[in-house]
Point group: C2
Chain length 224, copies 2
Amino acid sequence: MLEVKVSQLKEKLLFMGSIVERMIGESIRALVERDEDLARSVVEKQEPKVNKLEIEIDEMCINALALYQPKASDLRTVTMVMKINNDLERVGDHAVNIAERAIFLISKPPVKPLIDIPRMAQESAGMLRDSLNSFTNRDPKLAVDVCSRDDTVDNLRDQITRELITYMISDPSTIERGLNLILIARDLERVADLATNIAEDVVFMVRGETIKHMGHPGTDYLLR
Amino acid sequence: MLEVKVSQLKEKLLFMGSIVERMIGESIRALVERDEDLARSVVEKQEPKVNKLEIEIDEMCINALALYQPKASDLRTVTMVMKINNDLERVGDHAVNIAERAIFLISKPPVKPLIDIPRMAQESAGMLRDSLNSFTNRDPKLAVDVCSRDDTVDNLRDQITRELITYMISDPSTIERGLNLILIARDLERVADLATNIAEDVVFMVRGETIKHMGHPGTDYLLR
């Protein structure tokens, strides 16, 4: 039965979403609380799960297409699950990047108290959660709202980058650590971008029309 | 006819591939030759084309699935075109990032002669080209070769990052420019990662089995 298959697919995708969202939270918590074990568990325990789920979901989608030849709305749902699956796997990769950078940073003295990075992580993870909620509830309004929040995250990234550059200039011994923190902010920005992609896909899935490339800026700003 | 449709799809995808490959080359040339007009043309003229193609290809894929209900090999091809389409659009985004950073860097004195970044760009663009060749010729051997070249690009990125950090430490006035160059190296690394994704998808398309997450390291290394 196609209906059962589609609902299994969605369930599995949401399970994967909950894992990668937790990975983002834990990698940042590891950084802030200087908890190396937690950072290692993101890399060693969580990521393999995500990789496995990605392959399973992909196979389920291809099987659903082959066996049931879904049309219209179900077809859009299955193809969107494939895309969201891909996006969630990348969120997992960014969490791993953050955890690996955290392991490095924990081995050195702190550059500064971390306030904005956890805030940015909360924003990005919130966008991810809401993009998945908009998927579950087929809620294009929430999806559009997610897209509109991308600017906040971009602004936080710019602010974090500027502040860290100031630290790096005034004390060059912080350059390598500052760079790692800047790169963490970029990982979080990418998570927000991927949440935006998912939200755009949800709008397409529900309405059958795309809002991609229609003016919420996705490209990186310069560091000015 | 499904056959005609699939061959149109492939043709369009390769056209998009040729545009994004050129965008990478031009954004790097703009950086090296300090050619602001060229950088602007990547952002203003090339990227809109890629965005348009992405949407068109996605629609063609969904239509092909809806109308022809392809099976087995054709089904894998169509779903892989959707994935590769997504990856190519992201390559275009990275070219735009590079072009925007080039516009910033052109407005300042050069930090150092650029040797490794153009080399890295050549490697990444070469991987992209070969991943698309492996797609056109259904050549899993070439695809596996592409995956194996990812390490070279990662090593170049580490080398570039280390060298720039040395510059930044010895002369803090270069920090902002150095950071932009490091971020360009990361954009190029992501292009190589996306080429690797495409190559993995080609192996799956041809052989029906995945080589994803099987040990060519995709995660970022720490900056040590």
